[in-house]
Symmetry: C2
Subunit: 209 residues, 2 copies
């Protein structure tokens, strides 16, 4: 009698997933949430065995929700789904505590396998991701976040970290404000951070400024 909670903003996806799961576990209890808030509430109100959560719900909230869940219920396994291929974001998601990453190539069997795996408290790692993990580990990527930045991104990063406004930076580099803004987004994305203050903290810690 599994209790599985699905979070995705597309009703179609939820429906598909539900059918797929019921096929395997006919008597399972399936919950649905269409946004991060509902997801959190359902987790508070009820116990679940596994959560399957799309990362790109409205408002970038997949990762946010994940960290919130990890605080509230550290043991509840959360499988993160994504429409993106198994790129570097998979690592970030795992770092944030996900029990597994289901990329866009994921097929039926993978999902069932993933559920079995994470229920045992283990992580579901596809071979592709395993390799990335190994590489990341070797490069100690997690400790040198900023090395993943391109030159331009790094410039922008340093200036943001020291408190410069996007417009100031644009001015100084003679770029459009939106360009600098895009760099900022990428920097935050790549470094898995969400505010300039995080950048400042990081830079201070690493003595980059």
């Amino acid at each position: 009698m599994k209790r599985i909670l699905i979070a995705d903003d597309h009703a179609i996806v939820r429906r598909g997933l539900r059918l797929l799961l019921l096929e395997e576990y006919p008597s399972a209890e399936i919950g649905e949430a269409s946004d991060a808030e509902t997801l959190i509430n359902k987790i508070i109100q009820h116990e679940w065995d596994v959560v399957i959560c799309d990362i790109s719900m409205p408002g970038r909230s997949g990762l946010d929700a994940l960290s919130q869940i990890k605080q509230m219920a550290p043991k509840l396994p959360v499988l993160i789904m994504s429409m993106y291929p198994e790129d570097q974001y998979a690592l970030r998601v795992l770092k944030a505590g996900a029990a597994g990453y289901l990329g866009k190539e994921t097929i039926h069997d993978d999902i069932i396998k993933a559920i079995h795996t994470v229920e045992l408290g283990k992580k579901f790692i596809t071979p592709t991701i395993a390799e990335k993990l190994a590489k990341a580990f070797e490069e100690d990527q997690s400790d040198q976040l900023h090395e993943k930045l391109s030159d331009r991104e790094f410039d922008v990063f340093k200036m943001l970290a020291s408190g410069k406004a996007v417009s100031e930076i644009a001015n100084q580099f003679a770029l459009s404000v939106t360009t600098v803004s895009t760099y900022r987004s990428r920097v935050l994305e790549k470094m898995g951070m969400k505010s300039n203050a995080d950048l400042t903290r990081y830079a201070l810690e690493k003595k980059l400024i």
Copy 2:
């Protein structure tokens, strides 16, 4: 043959000051600037003995200009004028390197006296300010900037320093965004800082977060 540079955005004030100065120094060379940029340019182009600068030129630029001047020409004495009474901001101005603070009660004689004083490389301090200085010193105010904040301001300060957005804070305290924004302005003003990154740095240094 004194060379005095006046910076104020009101033509009337510049004119009045010019006449007043010429009365005392008939052969003085008087320069005028109506905004911070012009002020900086005139300082680059020409040597001056004293600068008299209003603190509230368009865009909060009085203090900014002062620190820029202090970097370019550390020895050039800058007298800061202000329409505000000699309150706590006088201290901030002095801390930023001004040679003296001329408040709204300043009279003719004070200005002349101030010029004489600062030309000798000394600071022009009125008794009122001297007292404030002493008190500030005693309280080591300069090292405990955050103690000047009110409770609400301090709350907001901490949250800003840890990277919360104004809107998040407003939400959490159930206040209007503009209210929180006002607190932010006051915090920045009181602490003599200009960006959230400064707050973060300060808070980290003092281990407040």
